[in-house]
Structures are given as C-alpha cells and as structure tokens.
Symmetry: C2
C-alpha cells in the first residue's frame, strides 16, 4: 500500500496495515468511532498490541488523518503535477480529486469526515486538520495563480475565492453521492466546475 519501495520492518508493516483499516473506519463511521477495540478486531491484533503502536487515541486519530491526506496527495495532487502547469493541470487536479476516494477503495471521504467532526472542536485534531487544509488551500491557490500566469485566467481572478468555491463543489458532490446515492454527482460537479472556470477566463 505504501508507495516507497523501501523495505519495511515488521512493526512498520503492521502499522501500515492498521492505518489502512483505520482510514476505512474513519471514512464511514468517523474518527471518534476509531476505538482501539473495533480497530484491533478489524486489524486482527490484540487491543494492547495495537495500542503499543500509538501512544494514545488522539495520536491514532492524527496518524489516521495524516494517512488519509497522504493518500489524497498520492491520488489527486501529485499526479496532477505531471500535467503542464496552467488550466490543464487545474482541471486534472479537480478530476483526480473527484475520483480519489473511489480509486483508493474507500466508501467515503475520510477528510470530509474529519472536517465534519473537528472543524469546530478545539484540540490537536483540529490543529492537524487545519494545517492540512491550509496546505491544500494553498496548493489550489498556487495552481490558480499559475493559470493566471499562463494567461488562461483573467489577471483579476481571486484565487482564494476559487479555492473556496472548489471546496464547495467537492463537498456537495460527496454529499450527493453518499446521502442521495446520486450517480450524476460527478457530472453535476463538472458542470459547476466548468462554470467556475469560464468565469475566471473572461474578465468582467
């Protein structure tokens, strides 16, 4: 599951397997449901054996969030970097983002779960989440700026506004998929994204 080819020690291997199960649980049932009991059962480990890998529940939650974000990066952002900077890369980033949950065989988006649970609850999890989201936001803004630089977007394009709206499109598509089982969710998201793009192309 890890991309790096470096040989893993037994402990690291187990830890990776645990985090894989943890991300799956967090995606569906949330990070609060990430108990040592249920996770140990899912990872085929004793509760105490599992506990030894993480000093506390909070550490486990943060490690799981980190892993989720790592996968998002792996499936969504990093591949987009192979596409030439500008509008094409921005579109690729969006498309990858729409599909990364499916591609990593998750039933739901763990990052969306984390946002719902911790966006307004002070603590280490919120701090970690804030940092991750800040980074994602910055990456989007930078990609938008590049698209301005290539001349494909109008100079007065507000990259922060773009990121704001993009997050909204992704969020509502997740909700439409999960709650309404809307098979057109991705299609609708693309329609919305297209309009956002168009608006940035023409100056007002």
């Amino acid at each position: 599951m890890n991309t790096s080819a470096a040989k893993l020690s037994k402990g690291e291997e187990t830890r990776a397997a645990i985090l894989d199960a943890a991300v799956n649980i967090a995606a569906v049932d949330g990070f609060d449901a990430l108990t040592f009991g249920t996770l140990a059962e899912k990872a085929r480990l004793s509760k105490s054996g599992l506990f030894a890998h993480f000093g506390s529940k909070t550490d486990l939650q943060i490690a799981t969030l980190d892993e989720a974000v790592r996968r998002y990066q792996e499936y969504s952002f990093l591949p987009a970097l192979k596409v030439p900077r500008g509008l094409k890369r921005l579109i690729t980033l969006f498309e990858n983002w729409l599909q990364w949950v499916e591609r990593s065989n998750l039933k739901a988006c763990p990052i969306m779960s984390a946002l719902g649970e911790f966006d307004d609850r002070p603590g280490p999890m919120r701090d970690a989440l804030h940092q991750h989201m800040q980074r994602m936001n910055d990456e989007i803004k930078r990609s938008v700026q590049m698209t301005i630089d290539t001349g494909e977007f109008a100079a007065e394009t507000d990259s922060e506004q773009f990121a704001f709206e993009l997050f909204g499109i992704i969020a509502t598509s997740c909700r439409a998929r999960n709650l309404f089982h809307d098979k057109l969710a991705n299609q609708r998201a693309r329609t919305a994204f297209d309009r956002l793009i168009k608006a940035c192309q023409q100056h007002n």
Copy 2:
C-alpha cells in the same frame, strides 16, 4: 423557544429545554456525542429522568435532528415565504440560510454535523436525515422553478443543479467559518451565489 403559543405541560416544557441543549451539543460535538450523561448534566436533569423523555439514544438523536431542522425552517425558509416568489425570494432564502445558525445562537450548524456523521451510515438517523434533506432540496427546486416562471431565470435552468451548487456554497462557507475562522466566508458565499444567479439569468 417554541413558536406556537400553546401552553406547554411540564413534560413538554422540559423536553423543549432538553432539545435546546441537545441541539447545541450536536452542533459542536456531533450527534454521537449526544450521550444521556453529558446531556443530563447540561439540562440539569438526572440521567434516568432524561432517559424517560426518549425511549432510546436513537430516538433522542432523531428528535434533536428534527428540532434542528425545525429551527432552520423557522429562521430560514418560512420567513422567505413572505417575500414575493421569484428571484427576490430565492435571494432571501439564501441570505437567511447563511445566517440562521448565528441567529439561533448556535456555534455551528447541527445539520452539517448530521450530514458528516450519517450520510453514509445506514440506520434510522440516515433515513431521517435523507428525508429532511430531500425536502430541503425540493423546496429549493420549487423556488428556482418559480423564478423560471417569473421569467427571471432562463427556461432551461436546471433546478436540481442549482440546488446541488447552492448546498456546496453553504457547506464551504460553514467550513471556512469554523475551520479557518474566515470572517469573509459569508461575503465569499455571496460572490459565489451571485455568479450562480447570473448564469441562470442568461441562456446559453
């Protein structure tokens, strides 16, 4: 807190007070954190006394969700009905929606909490949530249709797409407010909404 002027029995009064505390807890800490213990403490009741009002935890969660949605209706949708149907009403609905959490003195949106927790977890809570969201979705679609009927929106406007995008704008504004403490969140939401409106006004 209840809008109806009907005199409440002691039990109904207590129940209303409980639900008020419950909505506050659910908004911040989620519906899973809605335990009889913590809620009893907040509502100044014994755990068993509280339990008597709801047959089970699930019933408590559903009652809390119902109350949250009732307040959304009270602060957001119903007042908009006083505005003449068409674009003006649609804009009012949006503006009320943006502000209803603040106006009902909540620290976060309990409905967003519910969406994050239950949009992908089968069970009675998901069913109740699905029904509520379906209704909200229908209300928006009807408001859009009316705006088409008044001629303010192009005839080919996709009301489902409109509702889809509107949910996204609201969702991302919540996130921006809570996670990033972005004071411009509402402003950004209005910018996005304006663009959505504009797109519906001109046929392509």
